[in-house]
Protein backbone atom coordinates (compact mmCIF):
# COMPACT_ATOMS: atom_id res chain seq x y z
CA UNK A 1 0.00 0.00 0.00
CA UNK A 2 1.67 3.25 -1.02
CA UNK A 3 1.57 6.13 1.40
CA UNK A 4 -0.55 9.11 0.49
CA UNK A 5 0.19 11.60 3.25
CA UNK A 6 3.79 12.65 3.66
CA UNK A 7 5.63 14.73 6.16
CA UNK A 8 6.78 17.60 3.97
CA UNK A 9 7.09 21.32 4.07
CA UNK A 10 3.59 22.72 3.72
CA UNK A 11 1.73 19.66 4.97
CA UNK A 12 -1.28 20.56 7.08
CA UNK A 13 -1.60 18.53 10.24
CA UNK A 14 -3.77 18.33 13.31
CA UNK A 15 -2.30 18.17 16.79
CA UNK A 16 -3.87 15.13 18.43
CA UNK A 17 -2.24 15.06 21.85
CA UNK A 18 -1.23 17.44 24.57
CA UNK A 19 -2.32 20.92 25.61
CA UNK A 20 -2.70 22.05 21.99
CA UNK A 21 -5.07 19.26 21.08
CA UNK A 22 -7.28 19.98 18.12
CA UNK A 23 -5.23 22.76 16.53
CA UNK A 24 -4.49 22.81 12.83
CA UNK A 25 -0.87 23.53 11.97
CA UNK A 26 1.36 23.63 8.93
CA UNK A 27 4.78 21.97 8.85
CA UNK A 28 7.27 24.67 7.90
CA UNK A 29 10.49 22.74 8.50
CA UNK A 30 11.67 19.32 9.53
CA UNK A 31 14.22 19.35 12.35
CA UNK A 32 14.99 15.65 12.54
CA UNK A 33 13.21 12.36 12.19
CA UNK A 34 11.04 13.00 15.23
CA UNK A 35 10.28 16.70 15.24
CA UNK A 36 8.97 19.38 12.96
CA UNK A 37 8.82 23.14 13.12
CA UNK A 38 5.20 23.98 12.91
CA UNK A 39 3.38 27.24 12.31
CA UNK A 40 -0.04 28.70 11.73
CA UNK A 41 -1.54 32.19 11.53
CA UNK A 42 -2.32 33.47 15.04
CA UNK A 43 -0.02 30.84 16.54
CA UNK A 44 3.65 30.90 17.52
CA UNK A 45 6.11 28.94 15.45
CA UNK A 46 7.16 26.01 17.58
CA UNK A 47 8.54 22.50 17.66
CA UNK A 48 6.12 19.59 17.71
CA UNK A 49 6.92 15.88 17.75
CA UNK A 50 5.45 13.81 14.93
CA UNK A 51 3.85 11.59 17.53
CA UNK A 52 1.54 14.47 18.33
CA UNK A 53 0.64 15.19 14.71
CA UNK A 54 -2.01 13.62 12.55
CA UNK A 55 -1.30 14.44 8.91
CA UNK A 56 -4.19 15.60 6.76
CA UNK A 57 -4.71 15.35 3.01
CA UNK A 58 -3.99 19.02 2.54
CA UNK A 59 -0.73 20.66 1.57
CA UNK A 60 0.12 24.27 0.88
CA UNK A 61 2.87 25.50 -1.38
CA UNK A 62 5.35 27.27 0.87
CA UNK A 63 9.10 27.50 1.07
CA UNK A 64 11.03 26.01 3.94
CA UNK A 65 10.72 28.19 7.06
CA UNK A 66 8.16 30.47 5.37
CA UNK A 67 7.35 33.84 6.87
CA UNK A 68 4.04 34.21 8.65
CA UNK A 69 2.48 36.39 5.99
CA UNK A 70 3.56 34.05 3.18
CA UNK A 71 2.04 31.20 5.13
CA UNK A 72 -1.22 33.08 5.71
CA UNK A 73 -1.42 33.97 2.03
CA UNK A 74 -0.76 30.40 0.91
CA UNK A 75 -3.39 29.08 3.31
CA UNK A 76 -5.93 31.65 2.15
CA UNK A 77 -5.20 30.93 -1.53
CA UNK A 78 -5.66 27.23 -1.08
CA UNK A 79 -8.57 27.85 1.28
CA UNK A 80 -7.29 25.00 3.41
CA UNK A 81 -9.14 25.78 6.62
CA UNK A 82 -12.54 25.82 4.94
CA UNK A 83 -11.73 22.71 2.90
CA UNK A 84 -10.65 20.86 6.00
CA UNK A 85 -13.83 21.86 7.82
CA UNK A 86 -15.84 20.61 4.84
CA UNK A 87 -14.02 17.29 4.68
CA UNK A 88 -15.48 14.29 6.45
CA UNK A 89 -12.76 14.51 9.11
CA UNK A 90 -13.54 18.17 9.73
CA UNK A 91 -17.27 17.51 9.85
CA UNK A 92 -16.73 14.72 12.34
CA UNK A 93 -14.73 17.05 14.57
CA UNK A 94 -17.46 19.67 14.31
CA UNK A 95 -20.10 17.13 15.26
CA UNK A 96 -18.02 16.02 18.25
CA UNK A 97 -17.57 19.61 19.36
CA UNK A 98 -21.28 20.33 18.97
CA UNK A 99 -22.19 17.29 21.02
CA UNK A 100 -19.73 18.23 23.75
CA UNK A 101 -21.29 21.68 23.92
CA UNK A 102 -24.89 20.47 24.35
CA UNK A 103 -26.73 21.49 27.51
CA UNK A 104 -29.06 19.31 29.50
CA UNK A 105 -32.01 21.10 27.91
CA UNK A 106 -30.63 20.28 24.42
CA UNK A 107 -30.31 16.65 25.39
CA UNK A 108 -33.87 16.68 26.72
CA UNK A 109 -35.12 18.14 23.45
CA UNK A 110 -33.19 15.51 21.51
CA UNK A 111 -34.68 12.73 23.65
CA UNK A 112 -38.21 14.07 23.14
CA UNK A 113 -37.67 14.32 19.37
CA UNK A 114 -36.24 10.79 19.26
CA UNK A 115 -39.20 9.39 21.19
CA UNK A 116 -41.65 11.21 18.95
CA UNK A 117 -40.00 9.83 15.80
CA UNK A 118 -39.88 6.34 17.28
CA UNK A 119 -43.56 6.52 18.11
CA UNK A 120 -44.47 7.43 14.53
CA UNK A 121 -42.27 4.66 13.11
CA UNK A 122 -43.62 2.07 15.54
CA UNK A 123 -47.17 3.07 14.71
CA UNK A 124 -46.53 2.59 11.02
CA UNK A 125 -44.76 -0.74 11.59
CA UNK A 126 -47.58 -2.03 13.78
CA UNK A 127 -50.15 -0.97 11.19
CA UNK A 128 -48.21 -2.86 8.51
CA UNK A 129 -47.91 -5.94 10.74
CA UNK A 130 -51.65 -5.86 11.40
CA UNK A 131 -52.51 -5.58 7.71
CA UNK A 132 -50.07 -8.39 6.82
CA UNK A 133 -51.66 -10.86 9.23
Amino acid sequence: MPFKRYVEIGRVALINYGPEFGKLVVITDVIDQNRALVDFPEQERRVVNFKRLALTDFKVDIKRHAAKKDLSKALADADVIAKFKASSWGQKLARQAAKAATTDFDRYKAAVAKAKKARVVRKAVNALKKSAK
Partner: protein
Protein backbone atom coordinates in the same frame (compact mmCIF):
# COMPACT_ATOMS: atom_id res chain seq x y z
CA UNK B 1 8.28 34.51 23.73
CA UNK B 2 8.61 31.06 22.29
CA UNK B 3 8.91 28.43 24.96
CA UNK B 4 12.49 27.28 24.78
CA UNK B 5 11.78 23.92 26.25
CA UNK B 6 12.63 22.53 29.64
CA UNK B 7 16.38 22.22 29.26
CA UNK B 8 18.35 20.33 31.82
CA UNK B 9 21.58 22.04 30.80
CA UNK B 10 21.69 25.79 30.42
CA UNK B 11 24.48 27.81 28.89
CA UNK B 12 26.12 30.41 31.05
CA UNK B 13 28.76 33.02 30.40
CA UNK B 14 30.94 33.23 33.49
CA UNK B 15 33.47 35.99 33.83
CA UNK B 16 36.05 35.91 36.59
CA UNK B 17 39.52 36.99 37.57
CA UNK B 18 42.13 36.67 40.24
CA UNK B 19 41.59 38.97 43.20
CA UNK B 20 43.57 42.21 42.85
CA UNK B 21 46.82 42.09 44.80
CA UNK B 22 49.56 44.51 45.68
CA UNK B 23 51.64 43.33 42.69
CA UNK B 24 48.78 43.16 40.24
CA UNK B 25 46.05 45.70 40.74
CA UNK B 26 44.21 44.82 37.52
CA UNK B 27 44.36 41.09 36.93
CA UNK B 28 43.39 39.68 33.55
CA UNK B 29 39.71 38.95 33.32
CA UNK B 30 38.72 35.61 31.87
CA UNK B 31 35.44 34.67 30.28
CA UNK B 32 34.14 31.19 29.78
CA UNK B 33 31.01 29.64 28.40
CA UNK B 34 29.91 26.65 30.44
CA UNK B 35 26.94 24.32 30.48
CA UNK B 36 25.42 23.58 33.86
CA UNK B 37 22.06 22.92 35.45
CA UNK B 38 22.05 26.24 37.26
CA UNK B 39 24.27 29.26 37.78
CA UNK B 40 25.85 27.97 41.00
CA UNK B 41 27.06 24.88 39.20
CA UNK B 42 28.14 27.07 36.31
CA UNK B 43 30.42 29.10 38.57
CA UNK B 44 31.78 25.92 40.06
CA UNK B 45 32.59 24.57 36.60
CA UNK B 46 34.16 27.86 35.69
CA UNK B 47 36.61 27.58 38.57
CA UNK B 48 37.29 23.94 37.73
CA UNK B 49 38.34 24.79 34.19
CA UNK B 50 40.08 28.01 35.02
CA UNK B 51 42.21 26.29 37.67
CA UNK B 52 43.48 23.97 34.99
CA UNK B 53 44.33 26.82 32.64
CA UNK B 54 45.60 29.57 34.88
CA UNK B 55 47.06 29.90 38.35
CA UNK B 56 43.85 31.00 40.01
CA UNK B 57 41.28 29.27 42.14
CA UNK B 58 38.03 30.17 43.81
CA UNK B 59 39.76 31.01 47.09
CA UNK B 60 41.91 33.71 45.49
CA UNK B 61 39.60 34.75 42.69
CA UNK B 62 36.29 36.45 42.16
CA UNK B 63 33.40 36.04 39.76
CA UNK B 64 32.72 39.26 37.91
CA UNK B 65 29.50 38.12 36.32
CA UNK B 66 27.51 35.04 35.48
CA UNK B 67 24.78 35.41 32.86
CA UNK B 68 22.64 32.87 31.14
CA UNK B 69 22.97 32.78 27.36
CA UNK B 70 19.74 32.31 25.46
CA UNK B 71 19.20 31.15 21.93
CA UNK B 72 19.05 33.93 19.41
CA UNK B 73 16.68 32.20 16.99
CA UNK B 74 14.83 29.42 18.78
CA UNK B 75 12.51 28.79 15.84
CA UNK B 76 15.15 28.02 13.23
CA UNK B 77 16.37 24.47 12.75
CA UNK B 78 20.16 24.37 12.85
CA UNK B 79 22.97 21.89 12.75
CA UNK B 80 25.07 21.87 15.88
CA UNK B 81 28.52 20.35 16.18
CA UNK B 82 29.63 19.43 19.68
CA UNK B 83 33.22 18.53 20.49
CA UNK B 84 33.34 16.45 23.62
CA UNK B 85 36.01 14.98 25.87
CA UNK B 86 34.80 12.13 28.03
CA UNK B 87 36.15 9.47 30.31
CA UNK B 88 35.15 5.92 29.55
CA UNK B 89 35.81 2.99 31.82
CA UNK B 90 39.24 2.50 30.31
CA UNK B 91 40.47 5.89 29.13
CA UNK B 92 39.77 9.42 27.99
CA UNK B 93 38.57 10.11 24.48
CA UNK B 94 37.53 12.97 22.26
CA UNK B 95 34.45 12.91 20.15
CA UNK B 96 32.73 15.07 17.61
CA UNK B 97 28.96 14.80 17.45
CA UNK B 98 26.39 16.50 15.29
CA UNK B 99 22.80 17.28 16.18
CA UNK B 100 19.91 18.89 14.45
CA UNK B 101 18.04 21.07 16.85
CA UNK B 102 16.44 24.42 17.28
CA UNK B 103 18.50 25.61 20.26
CA UNK B 104 22.06 24.98 21.39
CA UNK B 105 20.83 23.95 24.83
CA UNK B 106 18.63 21.37 23.15
CA UNK B 107 21.54 20.02 21.15
CA UNK B 108 23.76 19.82 24.24
CA UNK B 109 20.94 18.05 26.06
CA UNK B 110 20.75 15.57 23.18
CA UNK B 111 24.49 15.06 23.46
CA UNK B 112 24.33 14.22 27.16
CA UNK B 113 21.46 11.82 26.53
CA UNK B 114 23.24 10.15 23.64
CA UNK B 115 26.52 9.77 25.52
CA UNK B 116 24.65 8.20 28.40
CA UNK B 117 22.72 5.81 26.21
CA UNK B 118 25.34 4.82 23.68
CA UNK B 119 28.47 4.91 25.80
CA UNK B 120 27.15 4.78 29.38
CA UNK B 121 28.97 8.01 30.16
CA UNK B 122 27.51 10.09 32.97
CA UNK B 123 27.37 13.88 32.63
CA UNK B 124 30.02 14.29 35.30
CA UNK B 125 32.54 12.57 33.03
CA UNK B 126 31.81 14.75 30.03
CA UNK B 127 33.57 18.00 29.20
CA UNK B 128 32.33 20.12 26.35
CA UNK B 129 35.38 21.36 24.48
CA UNK B 130 33.56 23.40 21.90
CA UNK B 131 30.18 23.86 20.32
CA UNK B 132 29.37 25.49 17.03
CA UNK B 133 26.56 26.00 14.58
CA UNK B 134 27.70 24.07 11.56
CA UNK B 135 26.58 25.23 8.15
CA UNK B 136 25.08 22.83 5.68
CA UNK B 137 28.22 22.23 3.65
CA UNK B 138 30.42 21.37 6.60
CA UNK B 139 28.27 18.74 8.26
CA UNK B 140 29.95 15.38 8.47
CA UNK B 141 27.31 12.98 9.68
CA UNK B 142 24.92 11.32 7.24
CA UNK B 143 22.20 11.43 9.87
CA UNK B 144 22.15 15.24 9.88
CA UNK B 145 22.83 15.60 6.17
CA UNK B 146 19.72 13.62 5.27
CA UNK B 147 17.61 16.53 6.53
CA UNK B 148 19.37 19.06 4.32
CA UNK B 149 16.77 18.84 1.64
CA UNK B 150 14.47 21.65 0.56
CA UNK B 151 11.98 19.10 -0.74
CA UNK B 152 12.20 16.72 2.15
CA UNK B 153 9.41 14.22 2.14
CA UNK B 154 8.82 11.04 4.08
CA UNK B 155 5.75 9.19 5.28
CA UNK B 156 4.95 8.31 8.83
CA UNK B 157 4.74 4.57 8.53
CA UNK B 158 3.20 3.69 11.85
CA UNK B 159 0.12 5.30 13.34
CA UNK B 160 0.33 6.05 17.04
CA UNK B 161 -2.89 4.86 18.69
CA UNK B 162 -3.30 6.62 21.95
CA UNK B 163 -6.04 8.55 23.76
CA UNK B 164 -5.88 12.29 23.39
CA UNK B 165 -5.06 12.75 27.07
CA UNK B 166 -3.78 10.51 29.87
CA UNK B 167 -7.10 10.72 31.69
CA UNK B 168 -8.79 8.83 28.84
CA UNK B 169 -6.53 5.82 29.21
CA UNK B 170 -8.35 2.58 29.98
CA UNK B 171 -6.94 -0.66 31.27
CA UNK B 172 -8.86 -2.84 28.83
CA UNK B 173 -9.62 -2.19 25.21
CA UNK B 174 -12.23 -3.76 22.98
CA UNK B 175 -10.01 -4.02 19.92
CA UNK B 176 -6.39 -4.64 19.08
CA UNK B 177 -4.64 -1.45 17.99
CA UNK B 178 -4.71 -0.75 14.28
CA UNK B 179 -1.49 0.96 13.30
CA UNK B 180 -2.19 1.02 9.59
CA UNK B 181 -2.10 4.56 8.39
CA UNK B 182 -4.81 4.57 5.75
Amino acid sequence: MVMQGAFKFHQYQVVGRHLPTATDANPTVYRMKVWAEDDTKAKSKFWYFLRKLRRVKKANGQIVSCNEIFERKPTLAKNYGVWVRYGSRTGVHNMYKEYRDVTLNGAVGQMYQEMASRHRVRPSSIQIIKTATVDYHSCKRANTKQFHNEKIQFPITHRLCRPSAPEFRTLYKANRPNVAMY
